[in-house]
């Protein structure tokens, strides 16, 4: 049975690229346009991975991670942040919120899959 990943990004093109890459890696993909949209879509899904952007309208990536970690079913799901942000302070915020890793855009598909393989058992 295929594993399921949630991709959260306000950029449709980024969602498309990440989704394609993950599908090549054998994942089924659920998409959210921002943190709130993703939170609304989470119920009913068994997620093995979440990849989220940082800067998004309605709800940003940090807040989204904090909310996700409050849900018992997703407390230990690996969450990778995929963002153009490179500031160390932001990265610390992400780590404190419960992110598993930080990937800077633009991403390399092969490298993304290698990283995913490290965090998804």
């Amino acid at each position: 049975m295929a594993k399921t990943a949630l991709i959260v990004d306000d950029s449709a093109s980024m969602r498309q690229m990440v989704a394609y890459t993950l599908r090549q890696g054998g994942f089924e993909v659920v998409e959210g346009e921002n943190g709130q949209d993703a939170l609304d879509k989470i119920p009913g899904h068994k997620l093995e991975l979440i990849i989220t952007d940082l800067n998004m309208p309605v709800m940003d990536g940090i807040t989204f991670i904090q909310k996700v970690r409050e849900l018992p079913a997703f407390k230990f799901v690996p969450i990778l942040m995929l963002t153009t942000e490179t500031q160390a302070s932001k990265k610390e915020q992400g780590k404190a919120a419960g992110a598993t890793g930080w990937i800077v855009k633009p991403f390399d598909p092969e490298k993304l899959l290698q990283t995913v393989a490290k965090v998804v058992p």
Partner: protein
Amino acid sequence: MEQHAFPETETLEQQVATALPVLDVMGTQLQQTSKQIETAVMDVCSRFQSMMQRARSGVSSASELLSGDGATSGNGSGSGKSRESIGSLIEEAQETIESLLAHTQHSAKVSQSAIDRINRVHAATDEITKSLTQLDDITIGNRLLAVNARIQAVYAGDRAAGFGGVANEIAVQARRSAEIVDLIRSVSGELRSISQSALTDLQVMAADDQRAMERSKQEVDRVLDDFRRMNGHTRQFIEKMTRENASVVDEISAAVRSLQFQDRISQRMAHVIGDLEALRAVFHKHTHNVAVDSKAVMDRLSNLYTMHEERSVLGTNSNEASLSDGDVELF
């Protein structure tokens, strides 16, 4: 260079208030541009991803063809047996030919064995012929004996009349014996003639088979050699195509990665749009009481803009021709 001068007004507030709607237009222009870029990039990405998919599929199919793994045979048996590679099919054909050759050689041995048996039948018929010759001698002896017995019976007169009857009976038996010998000789001759024909046919057939098989083997060996050469060339070609396809996949993957520039541009534009809105709010705060007529500014922009969607931002596209991208109109 095009001039962007705004109409002369008396105060700075009036000049700013007059130009303020331009900030709205700029923001909308940037938003629409960002959206257009995103749409275009998504379209390009979809096509690239489709190309990658096909290239990967090509690599996969070529690898299967080379290795003979993966796809199941299409013989409708539903066995699910792996399809053979071209190389193994050639080897299989070679084995089949060698098996046929072995079968023919076995047939030749069987023919030779039949020939040997027929030769033994010939030897047996020769023995029979010799025995018949001896029987001929015995028959002649019996006839002479019968003649002598008759002569002695005549000399002896009536007292030897029974002896004469025995002599006649011996003569009858000798004649019957001679008839049987003739019959056996005739049958034996016929048998020898038939077996000789069979022997000749078998020898001719065995020789023909041997020559035909030799010719077939040479022909098949030649064809299989041609197949092997072609298979070698095909394999080299497929390997080259596989490498090139893999290279294409890498290049497309790199191109898709490069297209992520759109996300960065989109973010920068969003930041600029946000700054424009903040700037407009500041200017508006200081000029909202100033009475101005921005029509001239908007008209100038309308004349400056070249595309339908640009003018639609200004709300001045009422006279737009109903043409879409790629449409052609001849005058």
